[in-house]
Symmetry: C2
Subunit: 506 residues, 2 copies
């Protein structure tokens, strides 16, 4: 998409050499200086993008807004997202970014797509909903036509309807449920989550708590439909959703297999696109927790190959989830991960890798290994700058990094988002896309908050409308869509983009 | 010193290509993986260093220590230095680093070389020492044979001797003086210094407070002698000291010019090296505060050219000090800075540049401008990763970055030192040296604390004894010493190094 970062400096050196040869200049030639500055600017994401007059007007407006925002004492990207969220909502840049057609969100987990308020106010108010309290102060749910069997490690079940009838203050109960379904808190996040261990533990608890609510078939469909709606409203036209493809259950306790889950996703997607024809679609990346053992991994890979064969239009590929540091490294699973190639079956990988700030550990080797296993993209890749060889391979083979700024901050990899390593990747126009990972767990919605942190935070003053355009286009170019579908998606995005620019610039 | 970071990946791609062509391998060839890992390892600082058997033993010991240290809950590089200092002191790695011959410290400011405890317990106990309290709650000092004239913005002068005689608790008074001479505090540094503005303001106040004490001729000489002693004891054999070359004064109020100051430095250095013949020496970089106007800058540059001509053996060159964001950018002073070249006079520059976390501002342009003015090294260069063109120029023209980890953390550019941008520079073996900037202001001594943060913090598990050796050798190779003196210094360092290795490995 742009020249490699190695090339321009050669031109630079030539310029420097020329200026030395022509000699006699005491002050460094201002034209040379200007050329170097422009060269550096042109190397960044979108640095070579030609802007129309309308785009230039919008760009000037954005620059002014950004300069004002950067001058604030309470600069949102420097603050924890939980404290910054209200400030971001009030920001004029955020309002532009919400309206902006952002293309696709390529790194989103299915069980954290929908705001937890809806889950509490809608889902938990449905009939037959039971709740229990776990020994480690979390909660679990189940929908059941009969009184459910006791759950180990949990208090006796309570029917929520009955509990609410007995409770004086239903709002308190709802808030307490809500707190268990998301990391977001009004308290000081540094105090509530003092370490990565604590925040990861609480994070996994929220999924456990959501599980019984969301894997109930009717809820599952509604939840996903609402999730698509929230991204669509946020002007995201395409999604690649990572999913454990949970076994769904019915009120009588019967369960379905993964195929049923994937089919349900397909149905809901078709229903959604029928209602909103300018939504481009969804593809799925089937996942497994990296804590499993080798035989489970082998099974899961076999299953994924079958799904990939049976649902080629909506299956994008395979990935592992869970904290890298707590699970086994990719290389440990090398035999299972080699099955597709051994059998000549296509199963694209979309590995999380380098979501760590430890350097030199086994886990830190995941980045290089993901590339050796021909991963199609890299999930997070937070540690990529620390791996010059992996970084170079990722750039040269156009393996895009899925950067999730809010997630990385909440999960305590970086405090001030101006210092996110993607600042460097953006300045070098490294292949990357912006995504939101688990918006509901972080108190975010859709994709705009992450675009805000990328554009205003680590994009610095230098990133401009061309950078935003590049990021949106990247999300289609680096998607799992076939080249023909990419062209179609780009054409659709382009129409939306031009409408957006002319409306805002007006 | 090592291959450019661009070259190895070509080899990598060849290997990848070869492995694809030979084909048939389902699991990525473990030999290829091993080769890529080794390639990445070899690209880091010291990655190509051949180690002797004794060095290998020491290296294994260091690795074990580092792994144990990294596993700690209270991992010092992740904490603020003020809280980490005691832990670092107790660390077995620190004890090795103290003994290690570190070569030179190339970025040290003269008025922050000596622990403030000595300043209080020795200097302020000398006769004729007066103190006053400023309106903004700092203190000022003067030595005078007569009662000194009132100082604007300050309380009436008090003779310290008399004040101490009247005070019930002299320790409290001494501690309160000490607190005004350093940023170091036992309180929570995040609370005491909530922002860069506050910490910079307090930082400049400490120098104002020290000024009247240290610029008194007899103290000046003792202070510097003690400063050399502290670095020498910390196994630093050579220094390049930045100095405003303050006008020194006598008890009768008479003052001397800058030449006298430089000569005093020369005398003390000669005296010190006579007493400690294995100390290699000191060179000076004359500085000016970047807040001055153009005519002052012109004067100062003229003066520096003269000093450079008159003291070629001890003058290294010229630099500007003070917070980059509060002063004028280098480009503003371009005419003054071009004088030496215009007149064909040699005045090497050692510019502070990129000591900022703002991106895209005028100040952020200092990095490129420093290089355009042919700076010999870059002071701090914290923002270098955000300037791919400047980074490439610095690498290709071997303009080393002076990395000062403790300083950058205390001055609030980075919180967790594992995330210091020099992590990337070290992994790419970018020309760099480790230095301590203003150890006394940060509660540090010599250079070992900064080596600790570099080696254990941003060096990660990967950096090893070869990296330390490289950093020490860099400090000679990138010094302002002539090639012949560099060879001499390297030979001396080498003897010390071999002695160190054999003693520790035993």
């Amino acid at each position: 998409m742009a020249a490699s970062p190695q090339r321009p400096p050669v031109a630079v050196l030539l310029l420097v050499l020329l200026s030395c040869l022509t000699g006699g200049l005491s002050i460094p030639d201002p034209r040379l200086r200007e050329a170097l500055i422009r060269l550096e600017d042109s190397m960044q994401a979108g640095g070579k993008m030609e802007l129309t007059d309308a785009e230039k007007r919008l760009d000037a407006l954005l620059l002014k807004m950004k300069q004002e925002e950067t001058a604030r004492a309470d600069f949102p990207p420097a603050m924890h997202f939980f404290k910054a969220r209200d400030l971001i909502r009030a920001s004029p840049i955020f309002s532009v970014l919400q309206k902006m057609p952002k293309g696709g969100a390529l790194h989103v987990h299915d069980l954290s797509m929908v705001d937890v308020e809806w889950v509490v106010k809608n889902v938990t108010y449905r009939p037959h909903c039971y709740m229990c309290f776990t020994d480690n102060r979390s909660i679990r749910f189940i929908f059941s036509s009969q009184w459910p069997k006791p759950r180990p490690g949990c208090s006796p079940w309570a029917l929520l309807e009955a509990l609410r009838a007995k409770t004086k203050n239903a709002t308190d109960l709802d808030n307490s449920i809500m707190n268990n379904l998301t990391l977001f808190t009004d308290q000081d996040p540094e105090v509530v989550y003092p370490s990565q261990d604590v925040v990861w533990d609480r994070f996994e608890q929220t999924f456990q708590a959501l599980w019984g609510l969301v894997t109930y078939t009717p809820v599952f469909r509604d939840y996903f439909y609402r999730g698509l709606g929230q991204f669509y409203t946020d002007n995201v036209m395409y999604l690649e959703v990572r999913s454990l493809l949970p076994e769904l259950y019915e009120l009588d306790g019967s369960t379905h297999d993964k195929t049923f889950t994937l089919k349900s996703y397909q149905d809901v997607t078709e229903q959604f696109t029928a209602n909103y024809p300018d939504f481009f679609g969804v593809r799925f990346i089937s996942t497994v927790h990296r804590g499993v053992n080798m035989s489970v991994m082998t099974e899961v890979v076999e299953e994924a190959m079958k799904l990939q064969k049976d649902f080629p239009h909506i299956m994008a590929g395979f990935d592992m989830v869970g904290r890298e540091e707590n699970g086994r490294p990719l290389w440990y699973f090398r035999e299972a991960l080699s099955l597709p190639q051994e059998r000549g079956i296509n199963l694209p990988f979309f590995f999380h890798a380098g979501e760590t700030d430890l350097e030199g550990t086994d886990v830190d080797q995941n980045l290089l290994d993901a590339l050796l296993f021909n991963t199609s993209r890299i999930g997070h890749g937070f540690a990529l700058l620390r791996h010059p060889v992996a970084k170079d391979l990722s750039r040269k083979s156009k393996v895009a990094v899925e950067v999730c700024p809010v997630s990385n901050q909440v999960m305590k990899l970086v405090k001030d988002l101006r210092n996110h390593p993607a600042a460097v990747l953006m300045l070098e126009n490294h292949p990357l896309v912006i995504s939101s990972d688990d918006p509901a767990a972080f108190g975010a919605v859709g994709l705009s908050y992450d675009f805000y942190e990328a554009f205003v935070g680590f994009g610095g003053i230098k990133s401009h409308l061309g950078s935003l355009k590049q990021l949106a286009m990247n999300s289609i170019r680096y998607s799992s869509l076939s080249p023909q579908h990419q062209e179609k998606a780009l054409a659709l995005w382009n129409t939306k983009w031009n409408k957006f620019v002319s409306e805002i610039a007006r």
